[in-house]
Symmetry: D2
Subunit: 227 residues, 4 copies
């Protein structure tokens, strides 16, 4: 059972500029590939992705082709830089574009990102990784992704301006090395489990949901469906 | 396979004062019990729980008995009120006390909260639920819990002061009703799955971890361990 | 002493699409104009503003002309919509572009946004205004702006999807009306005060600062400079 | 014109345990005292301060005596440690207790903390200072305090566990030294200015405010009141 991962690099810088976040994402990819996961790394700003909250904003919007890859993957990793303590504008834009997925469902009536697994990579010269990761993983969970334990890895320096991941030799930082291992392994563990044992479409489906349904739960949930 | 859930109500108010958060937590319990989950609801401020980051602060600390229940459960739900846009001080205190779990592992070397599932309940008269839920679910994921899709339910009114959940008739609010169903079902779905198919202790264990281990991954991960 | 205010509308939507945030910003402008403030409202996405952290990214970048207006104003108001509980990507992009101002100073060696005053306007269909406003006002304070009491106004509905400011009749919401008054008055009060009594360049200047300077404070701060 | 500052140390640890946050707060005090500010440092957990949102929770509550000092000061500095990326539970508790001030006004009808100035000190072994500072300064601004530019100073190490401020030699960290100077000077500059030129009670008063008043602004605001 081979898994696919899509990794969206949400740096502000277009290729071929050096991306510190990408350098750490490549460490994650090394682990994922060692676990037999097929990885595709996409630098969002290299594509024409306009602001918006629909899945296709028209006018040459290249988000649909990225979204198609996300929908075809088992694992979604978002990488981002920190600016002013907050996730990059590109990361925020990607989350906004994923809002469009709320308008469709998977085959069993759940949000289309159900049964996929999310993880986050953050780099900054200082402070802000918790805020970036918590917002992003939470948004992912709202969109339907499951979040394994220790689903993030990050590098950052101490207080104030300073060198970034590559220049600072972040690849040798033990904590980041450890969490890179943990994150990469755990997204794979959970993705494998959910691929074999998906979350049943019970109590969590979208179409036609009405508050009244709550009173008739037995009609929506066939006996023995769970487990 | 019966599951156990511990629900920590992190309101500021001691019993018997009315707790809006508890009112919504009881809605969650209704769904959990309908799914054959044994539930225990604990109002933290009714117990002597001092500030600290160890699992036992001595001097009559009653956190150890609460922690024991958390460690014996499959599902941990934290309920909290919003104050000034941020989770209640009691919720923050509970997260701080859980820091003590980092000093131990489960039987296979992972953090002791691995293979448990987390969810969050938030109420406020206005604004702040995303911040409370994202921080809390993220902290839970760091502690080892897995987070299912749509792992939170909340109620809040529109901008500014106003009535809280009970007085405002929040129990009839369709969005909160829907997310209560989704959250309760999904923590159960994922807890059942992880109870049968736990996250393997591969690439995510604590004791004796050293950066050097990364170079010898095959020694740490027996072939065929995953899946 | 006439004041100038620049108001940056950080909606995702280009003109002529309706902007709920703009509708509330226009309420702020009404108050500002009644207090004899000259206002200029700029919708950022109507201009060619690329991602980046420099003040001029080249290639037809239109940020420099916006920045020039900001630098010429006494008051900077940022308006933004909430997406997924976080400020819009456009608002984040604007903050990132303001990073470029750190590379210059005003005439007395402070950051160039010193002695200007900041305020924030937020709209969303639900939840997230505190997070948007706190991050934005804090970032502004780092950039050099002063923040008066009650420096934000926002509108949002109750939990979950729902109508936005205009459709929901947010203009009649007492709390938002009140905070619009407070915010608009207070940015003017403080801007007037700082225009007459600027923050002295003492203990807060940029160029050539070295930790060693701390030991020679009297050299940097002429007697009687303060007050 | 001598100023008074109250500094609330919101560490989790009771005296005489070492407080890293206090060590940095003492650096701030050094600067404040050099600027002729009378400083009082209070470690909140050394006092009996229960959870709550009223100014006096009874039963030996010692918050009222702390609040009295805050109300008598020109400058309020809150110091706090980071836990799990979020401000300490004690800092959150202090903000919650300040909620009680909304029930009173100063002599001219503004919130009682108007015309005071706020600043923040944060220490942690890693990540989270922006989140702590932004929430706290924003909450302060809601309560009525004015926030000068660069109103925070913090120290934190790089990603992951590690030594705290004192052990790590944080007192020699240039960025923290610089921001300590900036913060301390700027709270003094602004407090002096507001003491001489307070924010006029115009458009920002509490009692009896009604939306209708907006239509009769001229009645509430005597000509020439501003400036």
């Amino acid at each position: 059972m081979r898994l696919k991962a899509v990794l969206l690099n949400c740096t502000l810088k277009k290729s071929p500029a050096v991306s510190n976040t990408e350098a750490l994402m490549r460490k994650v990819i090394e682990v994922l590939e060692s676990l037999d996961v097929e990885c595709e790394l996409i630098r969002v700003v290299d594509h024409n992705v306009p602001f918006g909250v629909e899945s296709d904003m028209g006018d040459g919007d290249e988000w649909p082709k990225i979204l198609e890859k996300v929908l075809g993957a088992d694992i979604l990793i978002m990488g981002m830089s920190i600016w002013f303590g907050v996730r990059s504008s590109v990361a925020q834009m990607v989350i906004e574009r994923l809002d469009g997925t709320y308008n469709t469902t998977n085959d069993v009536g759940q949000y289309p990102l159900y049964n996929k697994v999310g993880g986050v990579v953050v780099t900054g010269n200082e402070d802000g990784a918790h805020d970036c990761a918590s917002n992003t993983l939470f948004n992912m969970s709202h969109l339907g992704l499951a979040i394994p334990p220790n689903a993030d890895t990050y590098w950052l320096g101490n207080a104030g301006p300073g060198p970034s991941y590559i220049e600072a030799g972040g690849e040798d930082h033990p904590y980041t090395q450890k969490t890179t291992q943990w994150m990469a392994h755990n997204v794979v563990h959970l993705a494998r489990t959910l691929k074999k044992h998906p979350i049943p479409p019970e109590g969590n489906t979208v179409p036609g949901w009405q508050p009244e349904d709550c009173k008739h739960r037995e009609q929506r949930m066939p006996a023995g469906h769970v487990g």
